[in-house]
Amino acid sequence: MRIEVDAKDWRFMPDIKELVAHRDLFVTLAYRDIRVRYSQTALGLLWALFQPLATLLILTLIFGRAIQVDTAGLPYPLFAVTGVSAWSYFAFVLKESGSSIIGAQEIVRKIYFPRLIIPLSKATVGLVDLAVALLVMVALFLYYGFTPHWGMGLAALYLLGIMGAAVGVGIWISALTIRFRDLQHVVPFVIQFGLFVTPVAYPAQVVSASLPGWAQVLYFLNPMAGLVEGYRWALLGVGDPGGLCVLSFISGGLLLITGLIYFRRMERVLADLV
């Protein structure tokens, strides 16, 4: 192993080889977080089940029963569970990855490893909750006698896109929080706002049908808007993933790439700031 450091080295993408060399640390950190997250609570892993179920229940009561949004004839819980599973993963990564560097300052001040491992391992921890939420979804599919079809394979691609967007935003926040501590208090707002401007509880057509063009563009610049809509389309065959949804792909991809670049820059001064 040879270590070379040059102050003039301004490469802007992460060193993949180095990340791979540290894969064991990545696994260990993720394992630690999962253990700590579920081992000390009375309900343990049941919490991962309880959260999506509670969200689903309240959405069904308000949007399904009271407001009666148009789900193209699908039972509302089935309609909502797709959005909820995707959104809760996104919210988890924002919250956990976003605060991860600050949370790890004790380690960061004392030892070197590629810092990107910290937010990435947090994003991995979220997969446990995501898996549980997907199980809930499958259970609902069975309950409503919804037959699976081949198009569902496409949903996996959308899910990857959602993970990419989540990691992108998470990395951005984790790097920004180092310099702008106040951001920690902004993240809960972003998550709250995001739930309203993402078609989780309602179909995206509601927006396209009633808002002017510029507002629609803004709406779909939210990467989660088009991705969730497409994800639901792939699973249930409702909604329209075309048109402005492409914007979401572009903004999601851009967030991921710029996030990696910004993180790389912040990595240089990170230990001096935390």
Binding site: E4, V5, A7, V27, R32, I111
Partner: protein, 411 residues
């Protein structure tokens, strides 16, 4: 190893910091002051500049210098915790530093899990930890509690476990900052032990210390940093003498610290340190046959702290003579200004120059709030009246020269 046995090669390393103030932007500070902080290039300083050197495989390099000379910054850069502002360096092989013992321990996890966690954070592969697992456990002596959460461990058990992991790292380059280990004597001792062990196995070591005799006995070469630059480099004996000589010229029998700020944790500060003779006059030298006093004026700034000074005396070779402090019951507790006076009897010191370092300490919880290295010195001169004086043309060896009662009678 490649490049002709060169292990570490450092070329023109420099590190610039922004001066003072909170390091992260805080919106409460107002937009204008934050903008100024972001844009101003004025209040920056170089903690390290133009540092170049090479270390060969199996060599132990000592790094000395006063506080703030850049020693720790240099180590932080070489262990890649922080990035240099200019210059470059390369290291052949795995680096590990003993400043990170116990880093990343999680209180909720078991000892077993923490061994893996800590090991991988320190740079081991999981397979490597697994291979050395039994050895680590045996070394730590906590077998019985391996599956208990670490939060139930005593402090000693935690340190032992942490050290057991660190000791099995087998790095090619070991970095030790003994200055950071101040206050934890047990830990300091273990660091030194580990360092001797590693150095004798032909591995490369970078060693920062204020302990000149440790530098002399363990290092083949020594580097003196002053104000962020390399002042000189070479044979440890020559460099340490140069360093102590420099300090000697600058030190005298009194140090006025009344303008110094209160320690960063708000505990207190030293006001004045001085040597006095028995009439209370400030002195910078004394005779072996004279008693003299060390007077420490200090301030307790906050209620709730029970600080007290600890004095550590070193001879001109940097060997520690002793450390001394008041008993646990004797320290003041209320905020205010205090004077501690230490009375040294005649015929205790040898003919030498003694340097005093001070710790600003708290008993419970035991904590060193800050450290003043080599704050003042005194030259003790031999004289004819001393009963411990050596016959002419001979020296009395030893750091101290206490007078004992010898009873000699005929058998």
């Amino acid at each position: 190893m490649g490049s002709g046995g060169r292990m570490i090669s450092v070329e023109g390393i420099g590190k610039r910091y922004r001066l003072g103030g909170p390091k992260a932007i805080d919106l409460r500070g107002g937009l204008r002051s934050n903008l100024r902080r972001l844009t101003s290039g004025g209040d920056r300083f170089w903690a390290l500049r133009d540092v170049s050197f090479e270390v060969k495989e199996g060599e132990a390099l000592g790094i000395i210098g006063r506080n703030g000379a850049g020693k720790t910054t240099l180590l932080r850069i070489l262990s890649r915790i922080t990035f240099p502002t200019e210059g470059r360096f390369s290291i052949e092989g795995r680096v590990s530093s003993l400043l990170e013992v116990g880093t990343g321990f999680h209180p909720e996890l078991s000892g077993r899990e923490n061994i893996y966690l800590n090991g991988t954070i320190l740079g081991m592969r999981r397979a490597e930890v697994r291979r050395k697992f039994d050895e680590i456990v045996e070394f730590s002596g906590v077998e019985r509690f391996l599956d208990n959460a670490v939060k139930h461990y005593s402090n000693g058990q935690k340190v032992r476990l942490a050290f057991a992991v660190a000791a099995h790292l087998e790095p090619e380059v070991l970095i030790i900052d003994e200055v950071l280990a101040v206050g934890d004597v047990e830990f300091q001792r273990k660091c030194l032990g580990k360092m001797k062990d590693v150095a004798s196995h032909g591995r490369t070591v970078l060693f920062v210390s204020h302990n000149m005799s440790a530098i002399n006995s363990l290092c083949q070469r020594c580097l003196l940093l002053d104000d962020g630059r390399i002042e000189s480099m070479g044979d440890p004996a020559a460099i340490t003498t140069l360093y102590l000589g420099k300090n000697n010229a600058e030190l005298d029998g009194e140090k006025d610290l009344s303008d110094s700020p209160v320690s960063s944790d708000g505990a207190g500060r030293f006001l004045r340190l001085r040597w006095t003779d028995e009439t209370g006059r400030t002195i910078d030298h004394a005779r072996v046959s004279q008693g003299f006093n060390l007077q420490v004026d200090f301030e307790i700034a906050q209620p709730g702290y029970k600080p007290q000074p600890v004095a550590l005396l070193y001879n001109s070779k940097g060997e520690q003579a002793f450390m001394t402090f008041a008993g646990e019951g004797d320290h003041p507790t209320a905020p205010g200004r205090y004077r501690a006076t230490l009375h040294f009897p005649r015929d205790l010191f040898n003919a030498d120059t003694y340097y005093v370092s001070f710790w600003f300490c708290t008993w419970l919880p035991h904590k060193v709030h800050f450290v003043l290295e080599n704050a003042i010195s005194i030259k003790v001169l031999d004289d004819l009246e001393s009963p411990t004086r050596a016959p002419s043309h001979a020296t009395v060896h030893g750091i101290l020269r206490p007078k004992f009662q010898w009873e000699i009678g005929q058998l």
